[in-house]
């Protein structure tokens, strides 16, 4: 009745799992980029926008940061078809993760905007800079150093969060791990290999982000 670990049966699926890990990385990257754009617009709107825009952004942020991401994607996947919008599993996951990330990134970027001293904004206004110019030349160089660590953390969390895509039939790393598990029934071996792959993906992503931060924005942070 002893269970014998047999990694050989699982390791033959390693290329299949690695391409799943690549898909996880891809989903996280696209959702993060989309979220950054939404977050930037949201943060600008919340900081400098009018009352109506602020309240629209506020509602969006409150909704998406106070409901589980899984439920949000489930809604997009299964509720939207009832009103005639049929998203593919990949689209539903990407849209869901982007909207969710956008809400968090709105708050993160807004915190960055608020960290800029009022006097500097006034100085920018005095020399005749537009809002976009102020963001580009005054705010951005200031806040990037402050924002880089939380942005990196969110990106890593999002990479790990792609595992929920499996529930909707997206064959990323976790989805493929489920499939290999269903074929081999070697759960301990399958999920050990899967954990190791996630570990490698996130450590690689962290390293790339830290190096990018150093080279592009002179953010002083350690790789490990």
């Amino acid at each position: 009745m002893h269970y014998t670990l047999q990694f050989g049966q699982v390791l033959k699926y390693l290329p299949y799992l690695i391409s799943g890990a690549w898909l996880s990385f891809q989903i996280a990257f696209l959702a993060f980029c989309g979220g950054m754009v939404i977050g930037l617009v949201g943060a600008l709107g919340k900081t400098f926008g009018g009352r109506v825009f602020r309240s629209v952004v506020g509602t969006y942020v409150t909704f998406f940061t106070n409901t589980p991401q899984l439920v949000q994607i489930y809604f997009l996947f299964f509720a939207l078809p009832e009103v005639g919008i049929l998203l593919t599993p990949y689209e539903a996951v990407l849209v869901g993760m982007t909207l969710n990330a956008g809400a968090y990134l709105t708050e993160i970027q807004r915190a960055g905007f608020l960290s800029v001293h009022r006097a500097e904004m006034e100085a920018a206004e005095t020399v005749g800079m537009s809002l976009i110019q102020s963001v580009r030349y005054v705010i951005f160089p200031h806040i990037i150093k402050v924002l880089f660590p939380p942005l990196s953390n969110l990106y890593i969390i999002m990479t790990l969060g792609t595992s929920m895509a499996a529930i909707f039939g997206v064959e990323e790393l976790t989805g493929r791990a489920f499939n290999v598990n269903a074929l081999t029934f070697r759960s301990i071996e399958v999920f050990s290999v899967t954990a190791a792959l996630y570990f490698l993906v996130t450590v690689a992503a962290s390293t790339i982000l830290v190096l990018l931060g150093r080279w592009l924005f002179r953010v002083k942070s350690k790789v490990f």
Binding site: L5, F78, L86, L183, F185, S187, I188, S192
Partner: protein, 270 residues
């Protein structure tokens, strides 16, 4: 350097957990009797084999069958919720003593768990809608056809082998699979004919269609941990008695509303 140490420590921990994890041993028949409780895995998303009743408790054919087993053994029944993809790992990890939930007997699964005698049969059919014009299951072998199936179930290798051109979308439970067809996300599913009428009732607005597939009959058994012969042998005797006394047929008719499509021919030799 401190953080580097932490990362390597975590990596080491993952490796230790992977290789050095203490694997639980399945409980023998004596241990189950001594504990006074048998733990049975049932999938509640597989009506009428397993479902949630009005009190939100797991009910259905499998539950009633497990009750009969527990009665014969003289112990309490503990129903454990399992899903299609995780039911075999639940047995292998000793989370349950045996698993039900359409546990189709096949050689791949028999490498990991042991099977008892068959308790029910299953014959596949295609569940689709009237929007799809095909009347023979072989016509579904097309690139523009998407089957939606529950992960870890027997029809998946059947589709891959017999209908290789069709696409397959894998979801984790039957309600989601049925909803996917009802919403037009997928065109069809292949599963056991006996279960389909129950699914069709959940989306009344859809014009459902069932197409029979002339394939071999599969047998559902109870799945026990590999090498747990004391439990498996006792279960075989209990299954024989439940058949001989007409209990299985009665339970089937209670939950399925009619006799089983393909009967299990029990014998005094097993």
């Amino acid at each position: 350097m401190k953080r580097l140490g932490t990362v390597w420590f975590l990596g080491f921990l993952v490796i230790v957990l992977a290789f050095g994890v203490s694997i639980a041993q399945a409980r023998s028949l004596d241990q189950i009797i001594k504990a006074g409780e048998i733990r049975v895995g049932i999938n509640p998303t597989l009506p009428p084999l397993g479902l949630f009743n009005e009190k939100n408790e797991i009910d259905g054919f499998d539950k009633d069958f497990a009750v009969e087993i527990a009665k014969k053994l003289g112990v309490k029944l503990k129903v454990v919720r399992v899903g299609s993809p995780d039911r075999i790992p639940f047995v292998a990890a000793d989370k349950i003593d045996f698993v039900m939930g359409a546990m189709t007997r096949n050689s791949a699964r028999a490498k990991i768990i042991d099977f008892t005698l068959p308790i029910t049969t299953e014959a596949f059919g295609v569940l689709t809608t009237k929007k799809i014009p095909y009347e023979n299951y072989k016509e579904f072998n097309r690139k523009d056809i998407t089957f939606v199936q529950v992960r870890g179930t027997t029809p998946i290798p059947f589709i891959q082998k017999n209908l290789p051109k069709a696409k397959i979308l894998l979801l984790d439970n039957y309600p989601d699979v049925i909803r996917a067809i009802a919403q037009g996300r997928a065109d069809a599913m292949i599963d056991v004919i006996d279960y389909m009428w129950k699914y069709m009732k959940t989306h009344k607005q859809v014009k459902w269609k069932v197409i029979k597939t002339p394939v071999e009959i599969y047998f559902n058994c109870l799945g026990v941990a590999k090498g747990n012969y004391t439990l498996r042998d006792w279960l075989n005797v209990a299954i024989y008695e439940l058949y001989r006394d007409g209990v299985v047929d009665r339970l089937w008719e209670k939950w399925f509303g009619g006799p089983i499509v393909f009967k299990v021919h029990w014998s005094e030799w097993f």
